[in-house]
Symmetry: C2
Subunit: 238 residues, 2 copies
């Protein structure tokens, strides 16, 4: 069988993964950790893939999360992960195209939106020959603009939009956020090593928020051959 | 006498400072170090204060630098520092208002522009009661827009604009750069300590440059009670 059970948060949470389907990466785990949310708040994860962000938000923060995912195989797989962890009361996965989200869901209805969109524009870099994997890495089904517009539509006033992306596109991200009344309030740069360029940016925007960006302490992934203390805590922490 | 000689780059370079006049801070030293320039290139420093950036660029990188400064006392003081270091062939200080720079200087005439503008808008935070000091910290004589417009005017196509400022205004900085065809290419965040929010941003923009921002490794100022290794090298290095 090409399916395996992968441990999250030590061994307390588990996620099903399948060869030839999207499997979460470090950036999704960092984004889930970056979210500030309270028990009972409503969140939506745009393009939820194998369900890693909904599972982590529900398990770690007791947030109610709706995951929106286009691919049926990933929807099925992540639904089974939800059941396996007994998180049916907190997590719902729906098969939806985020570009049409306003036809299916009410606007202004969520406290939190999370998005880990494809990192690369359609024509940049090598595309995965497997269409199911290509869509997670390249902007084939939905682009950054679609993700940010969907988030802005779904959020309540004062709600928070959390995005993980590449630093190279930071200016474009800021301009899209501004167009959509999402004010960047908190940013964290992720550096693979202390002496390397940042390769991931975590951003929190507030819908209709006031001006003033805070840049949080640097997050460094590796020290020597190991994950840094902080990353180990993020992976293991409850 | 209220004047003193302050050592820069070990003891090889010296700068005159006067009580009750602007004296350079760490951010100016970091900006000068951030500049990538070649011997013989022409640079202009907007609002050169006590002349620290022109002196460092000339001494360390053999760049020809024109410093533009509004306050006569600072112009006189920095001119004497230039002579004291024997850098008259490389550094010229002119008493000019940067908001009127197009009346006095040719456009498209410099390879490099540096700017360490006042960090605070006119109405934000406490103003220094001494007007000469207030103007260096608050946007009284010229604001960020004036600095960026002056830089864009003076630079050749492909020339580099170097700015040091506060992270809180990063979005505004990016939007002003875009309006002025200055493309942000390289950014470095400066963190007072490894676990603190960034309080300084160093930015390099290229006039008419292509898209794609690189975020350089984090620059951390203090480790324990001392400057970090890198900051010590910046202060002492030749």
């Amino acid at each position: 069988m090409d399916e395996e059970v992968y441990p999250l948060v030590g061994n307390d949470l588990k996620i099903l993964q399948k060869k030839n389907l999207y499997r979460f990466g470090l950036e999704a785990v960092l984004l889930a950790d970056f979210v500030q949310g309270k028990r009972g708040q409503k969140a939506v994860d745009l393009g939820s893939g194998d369900g890693v962000i909904p599972l982590l938000l529900a398990y770690k923060k007791k947030i109610r999360v709706m995951g929106l995912e286009l691919q049926k195989e990933l929807v099925d797989l992540s639904r089974r992960s939800v059941v396996m962890n007994g998180l049916e009361d907190l997590v719902e996965i729906r098969q939806l195209d985020i570009t049409g989200v306003s036809h299916y869901l009410d606007g202004h209805s969520f406290h939190i939106v999370t998005a880990n969109p494809p990192f690369f524009p359609q024509k940049e870099g090598r595309q995965n020959p497997d269409p199911s994997l290509a869509v997670a890495r390249h902007e084939l089904a939905a682009n950054l603009e679609d993700f940010i517009a969907a988030g802005a539509f779904l959020l309540r006033a004062g709600g928070s939009f959390y995005l993980v992306h590449r630093p190279a596109r930071l200016l474009y991200i800021f301009s899209l956020c501004e167009e959509n009344q999402l004010e960047p309030k908190k940013m964290r740069l992720v550096y693979p090593r202390q002496n390397k360029e940042a390769n991931i940016v975590l951003l929190k925007c507030v819908k209709g928020g006031g001006k003033g960006l805070h840049i949080m302490p640097p997050l460094v992934i590796y020290e020597g051959n190991d994950y840094s203390q902080e990353v180990q805590e993020i992976y293991l922490g409850g």
